[in-house]
């Protein structure tokens, strides 16, 4: 058993973190929220293998593992890179052009969550909508959906539409595939939230070192210091849970995949949410402004937490493993 990143994985993570930091620095969040466009980002993500990395080399992928995908998504989360990255990754190999970034794919997981109305992210940019149902995976053509734009999305970088009905579309894979995609989607969402948990812990720590009140950095005060210590603990717990889920997906013989994934989604969701909240509180009034980017992380977390099964739903699933 090697529950640690290999040298190659550490290098992949470092390299991708550097790429994201250069390509999507934190100032980008405000610029995109103000209406700027970034037409080439999606293609560059595709080139970096974000969507295709788990595909076999023969199919144009990098032949990498779930753990590698988790590391990449952790970095996407850390920088809050927008777009339907999870769904397009899920679609790679199922929908033409997804792997290469030519087709932007969004989706809906109808096996979890309350879904009236259907709320769809990034519909405008999407060339296909992947729908997970208990009976299989369905592909829906966006142009066939009667959808209304939601004027003000919660997360300025995640535009949403709602629809009261959803056309059936075309069934492209079976129930087992829907189940597998749901687990993968939950894992990648967890990885995004792990990145958010880390980013917000780091931002809170940095601010607490710099901000002076009562003639000393506020991080000197136990009330602040101990809150931030808890963000570190939660971040590390989320890391362990997310890597374990990805490692179990890679080698299902080592444990129960569904449980490992449910635990990752629960722990990472709670970690990201609590760390975002601490980050707001540590930033004081500035954490409540639009200008300081903390709020983007919080808003994205609300979305990710409610997608591919909430904390509550996963807790119920885990409890069900006790039988009874």
């Amino acid at each position: 058993m090697a529950f640690k990143l290999s040298d190659e994985q550490l290098e992949l993570q470092r390299g991708f973190r550097d790429f994201v930091a250069g390509r999507f620095p934190i100032e980008k969040l405000g610029q995109l929220a103000d209406g700027a466009k970034d037409a080439t980002l999606w293609g560059e993500l595709a080139e970096m293998g974000v969507f295709s990395l788990r595909l076999a080399e023969a199919r144009g992928g990098l032949g990498l593992f779930h753990v590698d995908a988790a590391l990449i998504f952790e970095e996407l989360g850390r920088a809050l890179v927008p777009g339907p990255v999870v769904w397009t990754h899920l679609a790679a190999g199922l929908i033409d052009g997804a792997a290469t970034g030519e087709t932007v794919v969004t989706g809906l997981d109808l096996t979890t969550n309350r879904h009236t109305p259907f709320v769809i992210e990034h519909l405008e940019d999407a060339g296909a909508v992947l729908v997970l149902k208990n009976d299989g995976v369905w592909r829906v053509d966006p142009s066939t959906i009667e959808a209304t734009t939601v004027d003000v999305p919660l997360d300025p970088l995640t535009p949403v539409h709602h629809a009261s009905r959803l056309p059936d579309g075309e069934r492209i894979a079976d129930a087992q595939a829907a189940d597998a995609l749901g687990l993968l989607g939950a894992t990648l969402s967890s990885a995004l939230m792990l990145g958010i948990a880390e980013a917000t812990s780091d931002m809170g720590v940095a601010y607490a070192k710099e901000r002076q009140q009562f003639d000393k950095p506020i991080g000197t005060f136990q009330a602040i210091k101990h809150m931030l210590a808890d963000t570190f603990v939660r971040q590390e717990l989320a890391r362990a849970a997310v890597y374990a889920a990805a490692g179990t997906l890679d080698h299902p013989e080592v444990g129960d995949v569904a449980t490992a994934v449910a635990e990752a989604k629960l722990v990472a969701g709670e970690s990201a949410m609590k760390n975002c909240r601490t980050c707001v509180q540590v930033h004081g009034g500035m954490g409540y402004t639009w200008e300081v980017p903390v709020h983007y992380f919080l808003k994205r977390t609300w979305i990710l937490e409610s997608t591919f099964g909430s904390v509550d739903e996963h807790a119920d699933r885990i409890a069900a493993t006790f039988g009874g």
Binding site: R114, V150, P153, S306
Partner: protein
């Protein structure tokens, strides 16, 4: 102890309810959040109606045109006000709850004459110039400098978190008049007319993406010495007169609104469908709502008990800090519940499919500021620990 209302209290409640039931619908719908002139007109128009009907300044002395209601009547007032969904105090907030009361206690006759009744009539809008970028929880470290030049103070500095500065006529301003002494000493309280040269107001959007708050930049603003409230360098004491108003019954209206909100969340949970079932069918969610209800009722009772004791002594017996601390953290818990009930509709902030998404998400986001503003939860715990429990100070 007798929780039954007296005849006088019943009469008070009845009269108010009766007036509100006509006046509130008659005042119409509030203008859009971003239309500041319209908001000023709407808020001050309502204030004038309140004044004319004898309901303005519920806690203010009659000598200054107020209603001078007892604390229990004030509670009834806030209950009925919230129940009728009467307009939020809005742009009148600072004048009615900070500036006016401070002048009543500390102002000169001329200052009282010039401001108090106008505030009450909705003719004067005030804003607050206390916080600075480097003086938040540590307010006393403020740096905005006022130098005496004959009969004027020349003021330079930078204020932040100034609500309603866009439409205010006056600003209650804290400045440093003596930079040699440390912190709490050397601060002075000034009335700053907002039309003086050298004042620049820049909106400060919150995480809602809108601007009730501003930053105010002061560049050689010349304020007459006669606008000083209290003595020079005695502003910290004067400030604390004001801050006390900020932490008393001022929250009562919002607390009652929170009770109402929780009931609305429960009602919504009974409507939202999940493939035909409701959020309310989740036993764990129901239990949590029951828990929240116990806490909000407990808080309302705590406020009543605190007021019941204060009505006699004139001083809130139980720390207003305790009420503020519990209230603001409870509002965040209720906000989380609201978001949970919305399910996937949380992705939007506009209403959809008949769900009150805008309202719920606005309040949930707004609640995040409440454990920070007007003394953060950390500051409240420090106050309770040191002033009420007598624990030793930490520096």
């Amino acid at each position: 102890m007798d929780l039954r209302p007296t005849e006088a209290e019943e009469k008070f409640r009845h009269e108010l309810r009766s007036w509100l039931s006509d006046a509130v619908p008659a005042h119409g719908t509030p203008p859009p959040r971003e239309n500041w002139p319209a908001r000023r007109a709407w808020d001050t128009g309502w204030q004038r109606k309140m004044f004319e009907a004898g309901w303005a300044g519920i806690s203010w002395p009659q000598a200054f045109g107020g209603r001078e209601a007892s604390l229990i009547e004030q509670l009834i007032y806030y209950e009925e006000y919230a129940r009728a969904k009467a307009p939020y105090v809005g742009v009148n907030f600072v004048g009615l709850l900070h500036g006016g009361p401070t002048l009543i206690v500390e102002g000169t006759d001329a200052q009282k004459e010039k401001h108090i009744e106008h505030i009450l009539r909705g003719e004067q809008v005030w804003c607050q110039g206390f916080s600075e970028p480097s003086a938040g929880s540590d307010l006393a470290s403020l740096r905005t400098r006022a130098e005496r030049d004959g009969e004027q103070y020349v003021v330079n500095g930078h204020k932040i978190w100034t609500s309603f500065a866009q439409v205010a006529d006056y600003c209650e301003l804290l400045v440093r008049t003596d930079p040699e002494v440390r912190k709490h000493a050397g601060i002075t309280w000034l009335i700053m007319p907002m039309d003086l040269p050298g004042i620049e107001v820049r909106p400060l959007p919150t995480l809602h993406g809108e601007g009730e708050f501003s930053e105010v930049f002061l560049d050689n603003v010349r304020i007459p010495v006669e606008n000083r409230v209290g003595a020079e360098n005695d502003g910290w004491r004067v400030t604390n007169v004001t801050l006390r108003f900020e932490r008393g019954t001022a929250f009562a209206g919002e607390m009652y609104d929170l009770k109402r909100w929780l009931a609305e969340i429960a009602a919504e949970a009974q409507k939202v469908t999940d493939h035909g079932s409701r959020a309310w069918d989740d036993a764990s969610l129901r239990r949590e709502i029951g828990h929240l209800q116990a806490d909000i009722d407990g808080l309302w009772n705590l406020l009543k008990l605190s007021i019941g004791q204060a009505d006699e002594s004139g001083v809130p017996a139980i720390g207003a800090s305790a009420v503020k601390l519990f209230f603001t953290e409870l509002k965040q818990r209720i906000g989380d519940m609201a978001m949970r009930v919305l399910g996937r509709a949380v992705l939007g902030r506009s209403d959809m499919a008949g769900m009150p998404v805008e309202y719920f998400s606005y309040e949930a986001l707004q609640s995040l500021s409440m454990t920070i503003a007007a003394g953060s939860s950390q500051i409240q715990r420090k106050i309770i620990g040191e002033r009420i429990l007598g624990l030793p100070k930490d520096k």
